[in-house]
Symmetry: C2
Subunit: 230 residues, 2 copies
Amino acid sequence: MATGTEHTVKAFDEDIGQLRGLISQMGGLAEEAIANAMQALQRSDTKLAAKVRSDDARIDEIEAEVERLAVRVIALRAPMADDLREVVAALKIAAVVERIGDYAKNIAKRVPLIEQHSGIEPLSVLPAMAQMASDMVHDVLDAFAARDADAAVRVCEQDNALDDFYSSLFRALVTFMMENPKTIGQVAHLLFVAKNLERIGDHATNVAEMVYFAATGNYMAERDRGGSDV
Amino acid sequence: MATGTEHTVKAFDEDIGQLRGLISQMGGLAEEAIANAMQALQRSDTKLAAKVRSDDARIDEIEAEVERLAVRVIALRAPMADDLREVVAALKIAAVVERIGDYAKNIAKRVPLIEQHSGIEPLSVLPAMAQMASDMVHDVLDAFAARDADAAVRVCEQDNALDDFYSSLFRALVTFMMENPKTIGQVAHLLFVAKNLERIGDHATNVAEMVYFAATGNYMAERDRGGSDV
């Protein structure tokens, strides 16, 4: 027969499993939001852009669910050390994934403002940048699910490439504006789109640091971290 | 003689008092960071900008302190209903204030990139916009300290004015770039500065919603909320 302690441990494991499941669900929705926002942008598809905006409510809902569950777990199960670190990590990671969803929503909101973009060459490299950011989100949530500290470090390393991508795109957009002053109003919105993608990478990096800490109890070494300057 | 319950209530009140104190401290530092970042920008003062960047570590530290304390309070005191709402609000508000500090830091990071800005006219209205954003941060943390739901609603209303300010500044910056194509590289950074200030207002609005919920147990009505479209 199960003792009280075994019962508590099992209930805790179930709670953690549920937290992981919710976060993985949020991550899937965030990846989808990024992909849809970029597709809407490429095709000037304002209907798809509107869908990204309305779908974001679901990500917000799941975050609220994670929060309620995490608080209940802390209050009822009073987890210690490793287990507490894991619950707090889940709470914080959910908040970050919710913000990643907001960045995708923000990109979608700009779609109606950049309609005649067929001539804006730097736009053609945005999907590759978005894919890079989205892969980081995917990889870091896999690392969380697997408690894989090494995989978390690799996500941080990817962020350097994303930052370089952003810097070169920033320069390309500025150059394009100089050569095509009439497009400045629209291209300015693309600067923000590029920045949003770069920020998604920063957030994936933040999650990677949390995963590393949850898995090892130590903070990641400074040299392994990514992060753009501006 | 105090009963066990009275003892617990007193200990909880002390913990909440400590959480409030830490958040108020963070808020003061965030306001200072915004003011210093704007002064550094106006005066091209890269030394002050560097100070804003390094001072941000203190805000991050206090956030970590709030997190540790809030988790301990939930685990040890198992607060219910109103009290639990308050602790969770403290945890979330600290995370938002930390982000407000990051926006100020981001503005500071751009100072070395916008050196010869004496000729950029729209720059002259940035301090007024920064003051508006900073006042929102101040007012919303006062509302939190006083559990004042009405004051929280007023902060959300201020956000509409900030959003209008941002929109008109965005147009002014785009116009300036069109007329002065050589400045585009630098003025693009000012677009981000303006955006950062607008985001600070959004975050103050988010805090206002949390304060409202913590104080009343209800969500703020949609019509009272602020929030820019992009």
